[in-house]
Amino acid sequence: MSHTPLFEVSDLRVSFGRGAAAREAVRGLSLSLAAGEVLGIVGESGSGKSLAMLSALGLNPEGSEVRGSVRFQGREIAELPRAALQKIRGAQIGMVFQDPLSSLNPVMRVGAQIMEALYLHNPRLTRREAEERATELFERVAIAQARDRLRAFPHEFSGGMRQRVMIAMAIANTPALLIADEPTTALDVTVQAQIMEMLSDLQKRLNLGLVLITHDLGVLAGYADRVAVVYAGQVVEQAPVHALFARPAHPYTRGLMAASADLSQPGEALYSIPGTPPPAGPLPPGCPFAPRCDRAGAICRETPPPLRRAPDGAAEARCHFAWQDGECR
């Protein structure tokens, strides 16, 4: 991957409040994604993973400030004026959110919402063309009787169907990058797999760069090429998916894996990492995970860990003991 990445975030910082009272929630997050690649971002709720992705596209909440560099197709977009960013959002970068019920406008017909996405980036589209295109999109996400269903309201759909509508809307203008923020979390387990299959299928067919934000490592095992583990607003480990599962380097990653439900061993209490991620604001010196880490030594509480690279060069982790056999499992 020596050529220009499709999407590259460097040293992204998001803070709330101003001046001395500013509290950082995303603390220098960096990651990159190649065209057609699936990057999983995993972390607990409150780790800043969603906030970071929203902020990278200028969708950060009111009262927050974003710093750092965001490059899309080689072009710096973090400093772009609002109008220029609007041309990119929805056209070259699509987004899918967690809860499709609250993410769709309740008083607009779903067809109108899809057609709006089309019109916004193709102002000269006729009504007939837009309707035609919206029908195709519905068929593409496997909504039966596509043409009739365009006239329905979001509440007339099931959760899975609503998420299909969201996905159809996100890919309406055939973007190069799709950011899916916990796309299956709010859905029934049986539907989750269908939606993931469909996303993955679309990703391959449209050669989408896909950022898949989730707190479920299990989902990533099946679909991601690479995984970035986010803790306290930083990437603490980044590795190709098979390497990560074979040899997790960061204790936090191991904790997340242990916390995933393992159905092969019924009757066993589910593991959970003690404590909670740190809130926005200043961190204690040393490793932000140290207070929750069962292997933390004196150095962890004093010196922030450097980014260490795995011997094979493919993975990196922000832990003093990463890839140091003996010290760290």
Partner: protein, 337 residues
């Protein structure tokens, strides 16, 4: 949808009957002798005249008898005869109703328009000077009584600065167009007289503005609160993620959702405006139901009081129905099958 409207319409006669009964019951417990409005004080001492007057106006009958007679007459559109004007109440009311409806409708349009605009502006620029100004305007409208505001603005704009006309529906020298709807603005248009239409609109401006301002405050506060809440919803982020600009996000996505709960309040404020019209009409010499109601109440003119109350009640019922239907149309989630 049609079934829903039909059910609501079927309930209307019963509600109207309820209003009539209640009005009758209320007038029977009011103190004061209606005869005082019919015959002079001197005649009151003459038992023969009193008895004759009582018989003439049906006041010698018992309340239930009067009630039944009234209902029977009402079926044929007869609301009795006013003690004061000595004309049929139905005729009086119909002559004055359009002026009131015109005033209240104009006030409603102004109040809702200004209220929604102020609310949206205040929500979008919340906690800025714009928001504070909008709050001040809303507070003034909601807390200063209509009669005081009416007098003060009439004095300033008409007497002092001469930029707005004085009381009345038209310039005193203008010839009134033939009455078709009773709405001066519509009648002048039907007559094809644009200058007269402008004059009618000009005269409507201040009374409707004063009256409308009284509800604009409430509406704007509600719109502001709803709007802020809606602007934090996820579908707003979706709209932005689609590439929609802020103006579009506010007007097309947020406002439409804000209007759903606001509609109900706008509907109810129509009733509030009908009440407020009484005072406004008195100040602006507006020949509507309000001034008629005031003189009827002063003279204990029972037929007129009851007539005005029933008509007011029916208008209220119709407004409610229209509001509920509008709510269902605006909010697809409650649309009945």
């Amino acid at each position: 949808m049609t079934g829903y409207i039909l059910r609501r319409l079927l309930a209307m006669p019963f509600l109207i009957l309820g209003i009539i009964t209640l009005t009758f019951a209320l007038t029977s417990v009011t103190r004061g002798d209606p005869l005082a409005g019919i015959i002079s004080d001197r005649q009151m001492t003459n038992p023969e005249v009193v008895a004759a007057a009582k018989a003439r106006w049906g006041l010698d009958k018992s309340l239930p008898e009067r009630y039944v007679t009234y209902l029977g007459n009402l079926m044929s559109g007869d609301m009795g005869t006013s003690f004061i004007t000595r004309r049929p109440v139905a005729q009086d009311v119909m002559a004055r109703l359009p002026a009131t409806l015109e005033l209240v409708t104009a006030a409603m349009i102004f109040g809702a328009g200004a209220g929604i605009t102020l609310g949206v502006v205040a929500a979008v620029w919340r906690n800025t000077i714009v928001d504070h100004l909008a709050r001040l305007l809303a507070l003034i409208g909601a807390s200063i009584p209509v009669f005081w505001m009416g007098l003060a603005l009439l004095y300033l704009f008409s007497v002092q600065w001469g930029v707005l006309p004085g009381p009345g529906r038209l310039d005193p020298r203008a010839t009134t167009p033939p009455q078709v709807t009773g709405f001066m603005t519509l009648d002048t248009l039907i007559a094809g007289d644009l200058r007269l239409f402008g004059n009618a609109l000009y005269h409507l401006l201040l009374p409707a503005g004063v009256l409308g301002w009284s509800v604009a405050g409430t509406i704007s506060r509600l719109v502001r609160a709803n709007m802020i809440e809606i602007l934090h919803r996820e579908f707003i982020t979706t709209a932005r993620a689609k590439g929609a600009g802020e103006l579009r996000v506010v007007l097309r996505h947020a406002l439409r959702n804000t209007l759903v709960p606001t509609l109900t309040v706008i509907g109810y404020s129509f009733a509030y405006l009908l009440t407020g019209a009484v005072l406004t009409e008195t100040i602006f010499s507006w020949p509507g139901m309000g001034s008629y109601a005031v003189s009827a109440a002063r003279g204990l003119d029972y037929p007129a009081i009851i007539g005005v109350t029933i008509v007011g009640g029916v208008i209220f019922l119709i407004t409610n129905l229209v509001t509920d239907i509008a709510y269902v149309i605006a909010n697809p989630r409650v649309r009945p099958g």
